[in-house]
């Protein structure tokens, strides 16, 4: 019983949150439409949190994802403004993410800087670059092609159910599937878990720790860039700070998820629950007309309560 409480505390917290909102918003909360809305609202955070899970599996961090998201959005938007086609902008944005991520990986795994310091440094750098190339301005309006902002407004119609699944939601689910497969079912992922579990043991056993770490950071950079592009498409504009709020939330989501696994290691499906908790609280409390300030307090308190249940007596 207590065992289960520990293990499933966060999941129960999640269920409780759902039930609570359902009871208090009987008409509007538990509707397909609202859930599709939520799924779209959290899709960018989700993509970044999923790929953040990849480095956190190794016990590392990436604080630069928010800056990277802004930078990739800006990169794409600048190319659009100069008349390049949408595909070019998207590819360039993603490429920036990979390069930035690999640079993080280089600092962490080859130079040997603590991930926290390394990515704090690159957070500052990438944000500076985003400001520099955009001259600190927001790029929007005619400069952003309809085809690009249309991505966030399109969706897959399912006539049978009379719903339209937003394209951003589908994208996030795709990333979830990929990361899940990568981490749980490929040798690459298993080795990342080994590094996280015992770096020295992995190294002694001949796991190529440096190379794997490098690649993992590259993937996290790629995910951050994708999240940034999704965000830019959704707000049909790009500015050098728009991704910055995502970093702490993404890490929070992974940590929330970590409370759900027995040995406290990150799992991407658990990260999904973390992301949904954050998204639901925002959506539900706003619908319940809770004052914004009180909402903030409640979000903090509810997260702590959920985690507390699963931590109680864990040691």
């Amino acid at each position: 019983m207590i065992q289960n409480l520990k293990r499933y505390g966060t999941l129960m917290g999640f269920g409780f949150i759902v039930l609570f909102f359902w009871a208090n918003l009987p008409e509007t909360f538990m509707t397909a439409r609202n859930w599709l809305n939520i799924s779209q609202q959290v899709s960018m955070l989700a993509v970044i949190a999923f790929t953040m899970t990849i480095v956190m599996v190794m016990g590392d961090f990436d604080l630069s994802v928010g800056s990277m998201a802004s930078l990739s959005g800006i990169t794409a938007a600048l190319l659009f403004a100069h008349g390049y086609p949408v595909a070019v902008g998207l590819l360039a944005g993603l490429a920036v993410g990979v390069v930035g991520g690999l640079f993080n990986g280089f600092l962490v795994s080859l130079v040997g800087i603590l991930p926290f310091v390394a990515t704090l440094g690159t957070l500052t750098m990438y944000s500076g670059i985003a400001f520099l190339v955009s001259d600190g301005k927001t790029i929007f309006g005619r400069d952003i092609p309809r085809d690009f902002s249309g991505i966030a407004r399109s969706g897959l119609e399912i006539p049978a159910l009379e719903i339209t699944v937003p394209f951003l939601t589908i994208l996030a689910l795709g990333v979830l599937l990929l990361v899940w497969f990568l981490l749980e079912h490929t040798a690459f992922g298993r080795r990342l878990y080994a590094i996280g579990g015992n770096y020295e043991a992995a190294r002694l056993a001949g796991v190529k720790v440096r190379r794997l770490r490098l690649i993992a950071f590259g993937l996290t950079g790629l995910g951050a860039a994708l999240g940034g592009l999704m965000l830019a498409s959704r707000v049909a504009s790009a500015n050098p700070t728009q991704g910055s709020g995502l970093m702490l939330d993404a890490i929070a989501a992974v940590f929330l998820g970590m409370t759900m696994s027995r040995e406290g290691e990150p799992r991407v499906l658990a990260t999904l629950v973390g992301v949904l908790i954050l998204g639901l609280l925002d959506n539900g409390l706003t619908q319940m007309n809770v004052d914004s300030f009180v909402r903030e307090i409640l979000v903090g308190a509810i997260i702590l309560a959920a985690v507390a249940i699963s931590s109680l007596g864990k040691r």
Binding site: R33, F131, F140, G141, T241, G245, G284, T286, S292
Partner: protein
């Protein structure tokens, strides 16, 4: 020698500030000043630090774009060193030679009265405010007063969005939730936003929810280019108030030039006119 002039602002990422600085830089160039623009990325305490640094370098004049009451410690240092400081959309203060700005009270009156008129003095209004920033706080207070004066206008929600991204994305998420909580057509009559980003976020939410045909009136303040585009498109976003940002920058440069020339400036506030932007004049 060349006059050294420093502009210090925490808000360079804001579009409005960029236009002030543009206007000011152009004038500075034609005056032949050695200009340094310093941004502290939202950090007000750092403005004091940079003021101290500027005084340490013996610049000839300083322009700030931040509430003077919060940086008095730095302004005092400048005054002791005899360096004139001019406010650019800043605030009145005994430490400033003068302050060049738009009339914030008037702007809020214009948009809130526009809303009240358009909805015939009756209906539910969603407000987006940000009281942590004094100039924006003023707007909210004025709008509260205007709506409070109409017995049939109810403020449905007074939302403070997360502004770390400028405010669009979070405002949109908040508006989506409010729309979901108020599904009947007509249950929301208007959205009043204290600046343009939340108005744009609300517009996106309303359009995506397919409720753009309910006649929800959206207004913002600042008339930034993105808002102008939206207003010109003729949708729910109907009005915003344009400050003459470039004009403020120009005017500030003019005041600085007068001070550098040794003139004393008597007026402690200089207002630069604003203009209500609607579909009729948005394209200009």
């Amino acid at each position: 020698a060349q006059s050294k002039v420093v502009v210090i602002t925490p808000y360079l990422a804001q579009p409005g500030t960029q236009f002030y600085v543009e206007g000011f830089s152009a004038a500075a160039q034609s005056n032949g000043w050695d200009l340094n623009v310093i941004d502290t990325a939202g950090d007000v305490a750092a403005v004091i630090s940079r003021l101290e640094d500027a005084v340490n370098q013996n610049v000839d004049a300083i322009v700030i774009n931040v509430d003077p009451a919060q940086v008095e410690a730095g302004l005092e240092v400048a005054r002791d060193a005899g360096i004139p400081v001019v406010g650019m959309d800043s605030g009145t203060s005994p430490y400033l030679a003068t302050n060049v700005t738009s009339n914030g009270y008037a702007m809020a009156v214009e948009t809130s009265v526009y809303v009240a008129d358009r909805i015939g003095g009756t209906g539910n209004v969603v407000m987006f405010v940000f009281d942590a920033f004094p100039p924006v706080q003023i707007r909210g207070v004025i709008a509260d007063a205007v709506f409070g004066n109409y017995p049939d206008i109810a403020v449905l929600d007074r939302v403070t969005p997360d502004v770390s991204d400028g405010g669009i994305a979070d405002s949109r998420a908040k508006m989506e939730a409010i729309l979901a909580a108020n599904p009947e057509p007509g249950s929301i009559a208007a959205v009043w936003a204290a600046w343009d980003q939340p108005a744009l976020g609300a517009l996106q939410a309303i359009e995506d929810a397919g409720r753009d045909n309910e006649g929800i009136v959206i207004v913002g303040i600042d008339a930034n280019p993105q808002a102008r585009d939206a207003i010109a498109a003729g949708g729910n976003f109907e009005a915003s108030v344009a400050q003459d940002f470039v004009g403020i920058g120009n005017k500030t440069a003019e005041m600085v030039a007068r001070l550098l020339a040794g003139e004393t400036v008597k007026e402690n506030v200089v207002y630069v006119p604003t203009m209500l932007i609607t579909a009729a004049n948005a394209a200009q």
